[in-house]
Subunit: 463 residues, 2 copies
């Protein structure tokens, strides 16, 4: 009797293991098909060509952002999704206002010299006359407290701490320096500074200024803030080592009344578990001075092409696959907040969400995050998929997802950040050179394949 039970158990195990391995073979085959289609019939690069090349920079509130909403909505309509809709949100409306100038004046070393500059997002303008003041260089926000009003009042504060080039992941280096850009103006204005210059956020030495968001603190006087290129930051710093110099700054930035804008949302409803949502998305807005190709045109077209690839494969998902173009990630995340609020109100469940917002470079894998009560269990499941993904150079890394989707954490699904190679991202980030010619088609399409493959596994097996 016992013998028969053993036989039964052994038989069951064999059947089960061959079932599992047949599943794995089938999955490996399907993922191979996904890669074949994404690399041969992918459309992400074509989409990006229009979004970044023709429409261009898409700052929230701008006509280009409106055009991007319309374009991606129309595109989703052509992809035959079950539903395509716009989701309203109110976005800040900041305008650069054209020409901006930063000039060293009266230097005995360099005379009068223009620096490559770009106003930071949300900065007020100087007015047409500009501001001329002596410059004081600092490396850390905290340094301001020890310098005090005595040293700072009436001056332009120049934040010059470089991004650490020895960090292997450039996003860590960015995280270690960006406080100067975001908070520098108000911290300096507390001590009477009249304006702020910030070293551009890149490890490169070049002539390209990098803009990006800055935030004024309530109750502190607002002063204009501009980024200067790293070459010019080095130059200004050298000049300051030998003499006190005045700098003239002039820009025409304006904060206008908030405007109505939209997230663009399309979905294919799941055949078995329609209430389990798998989100893929990027943010549709960008900064204004370049084409927003890597940030985050690439993420948008990654997500759109996931849908196109599934369509071309004739794939009918078991779960609902939702493609979301978030509005206004760069300047307050109004779109992400509107999306979260609506989703919570509707008591939706995002089984998973994947955000691509780190550029269109060669895929390395996904970072992942979830509510701590469920993270480890879900992560174990993920690692069981590695044999299917490692042949494509993909792995999972604990920690972090994306700015727009992280607000969905209370729903206790798994949140992923698509992670491409990070080395070139901050060559282009928030600059006038973040254009389609900075994107390699093959690298971009590999990103589509990586994301589609993960969505496929999530859809097949849940998590």
């Amino acid at each position: 009797m016992l013998y028969r039970v053993y036989l039964l158990i052994i038989g069951f195990c064999l059947a089960f293991s061959s079932f599992v391995s047949a599943q794995t073979d089938q999955d490996a085959f399907y993922i191979r098909k996904i890669y074949d289609v994404a690399l041969q019939k992918g459309k992400a690069y074509d989409y990006l060509y229009h979004l970044s090349g023709d429409i261009g920079g898409r700052l929230a509130g701008s006509p280009q952002a409106a055009a991007a909403v319309e374009y991606t909505k129309q595109l989703m309509d052509t992809l035959g999704m079950d539903e395509v809709r716009l989701q309203e949100c109110m976005v800040p409306h900041w305008e650069r206002g054209g020409k901006e100038e930063v000039r060293i004046v009266n230097s005995s070393q360099v005379g009068s010299l223009d620096l490559k500059a770009a106003s930071l997002g949300n900065s007020i303008g100087t007015g047409p006359m500009g501001i001329t003041a002596e410059v004081i260089e600092v490396q850390q926000l905290d340094q301001l407290d020890s310098l005090g009003a005595e040293m700072i009042e009436g001056k332009i504060v120049f934040f010059n701490r470089p991004m650490d080039p020895t960090q292997i992941n450039t996003f860590s280096a960015y995280g270690g320096a960006v406080d100067q850009r975001v908070f520098g103006a108000s911290r300096a204005a507390k001590y009477g500074s009249v304006g702020v210059l910030v070293r551009s956020m890149t490890t490169r030495k070049d002539d390209v200024p990098h803009t990006g968001v800055m935030i004024y603190e309530d109750g502190v006087p607002q002063v204009p803030a501009l980024a200067i290129s790293t070459n010019d930051a080095d130059l200004l710093s050298r000049v300051l080592k030998r003499e006190a110099v005045n700098v003239y700054i002039q820009n025409n930035c304006r904060n206008l009344a908030p405007k109505k804008s939209y997230n663009v949302i399309g979905e294919i409803r799941g055949s078995e578990y329609p209430d389990e949502i798998i989100l893929v998305g990027g943010h549709l807005d960008s900064w204004d001075i370049g084409g927003g190709a890597h940030d985050d045109g690439a993420g948008c077209v990654h997500a759109l092409d996931v849908i196109q690839v599934f369509r071309r494969l004739g794939y009918q998902p078991k779960r609902t696959i939702r493609c979301v173009m978030f509005m206004n990630e760069e300047n307050g995340q109004a779109g992400a907040i509107a999306y979260r609020d609506a989703s919570m109100k509707a008591e939706e469940f995002h089984l998973a969400a994947i955000e691509s917002d780190r550029g269109g470079f060669t895929p390395r894998g996904f970072t992942c995050d979830a509510h701590e009560s469920v993270f480890e269990e879900k992560y174990r499941k993920l690692t069981s998929w590695l044999p299917l993904l490692e042949p494509y150079g993909l792995r999972f890394k604990k920690g972090g997802s994306g700015a727009d989707i992280s607000r969905l954490k209370p729903q206790k699904g798994m949140l992923f950040g698509f992670e491409p190679d990070s080395q070139r991202y901050f060559d282009y980030h928030h600059t006038a050179i973040d254009n389609i010619d900075a994107v390699n088609k093959r690298e971009l399409q590999l990103g589509v394949a990586a994301m589609t493959s993960l969505v496929y596994l999530l859809d097949q097996y849940g998590i």
Copy 2:
């Protein structure tokens, strides 16, 4: 008694493991220092700027190749090595001879149309009058056998099988298509073909022709062979689907008498095991139509900067570190053969050799190879180093090293190929656009750090 033996064993184990982990900590610390120096004080990009930008394409036998020998020798002299020397070798001397033309004539669809073309290395010239003949398209070398002289005689054979874009590693795709370029001319000439056109070796669709070596078979008539860009290959193929067309080809290539050239070799002698050589190298020659920046300027400056970084760190190796610039990898490997012959004659032992010849992109790790009698044992040792290298995105992969060092296999050392990300390599390979502006400084310097770290571990612990 037994109890005491246990205690002794446990004590020994604890001491040993803390010794091991102290070693590991120290190694981790040193590798971190290597990365810091390579990323902040590395010189590879500056070296490459001169080698690729100022000297330019360095085809074996050319004045530029001679200049590159002189430059890298002088550079090694400044790095304070124990010995710097030139090693003679006789290299083929092929000249492109300036202007080359491929033109569709008499097409009812496109009229008379110039195609972007580059003669293949070693090709004979057509003479000043050129050759005009009907074109026949094939996909595979074997197809020629079934077509036979009846279909081929008097025609130009057009090899048009694309590199497979669905291969994740682009070198595999290259390996699957390059037979057309290397052997196509003689295979076609056997059946009376008068010339050969080959689709360029890249997955991109663009207007850039890719040259590269072709080899004539003994006893078969030699016919001219040229590559055309992938866009033009697609165009020609479309035209041929609707009508027979003639193509005019004209080039002025010449094979001249072999010339004397040199490998450039510098070494720092080991303090403890001077007879155990660790080689780092790349090949100094390149094709002539571009700056040979990724192929293989990058590999040369990787190897040179390994020495510079060690010097800056004040590192005194236990084993001999030898930096080798191989001559003529592209067109027969005369330098590699001369090096191997001299090394065998001197009964040298290369404990390890690392060749960088896959471009200056973000490092992924190293492929490795060794005589089969020792491979598995050595590979196990390598994997024990992974905890030190994985934080930098590096891993080891079985199989393959480099064209120049693979001849050292009988010495039973470990042979490594530096492996960067492969996605963009064939955008530039053997083209007029393989120039310094195609190289990202940070990606290049990360390659230096990766190679230096591996040399450090090999030097510390042997293998």
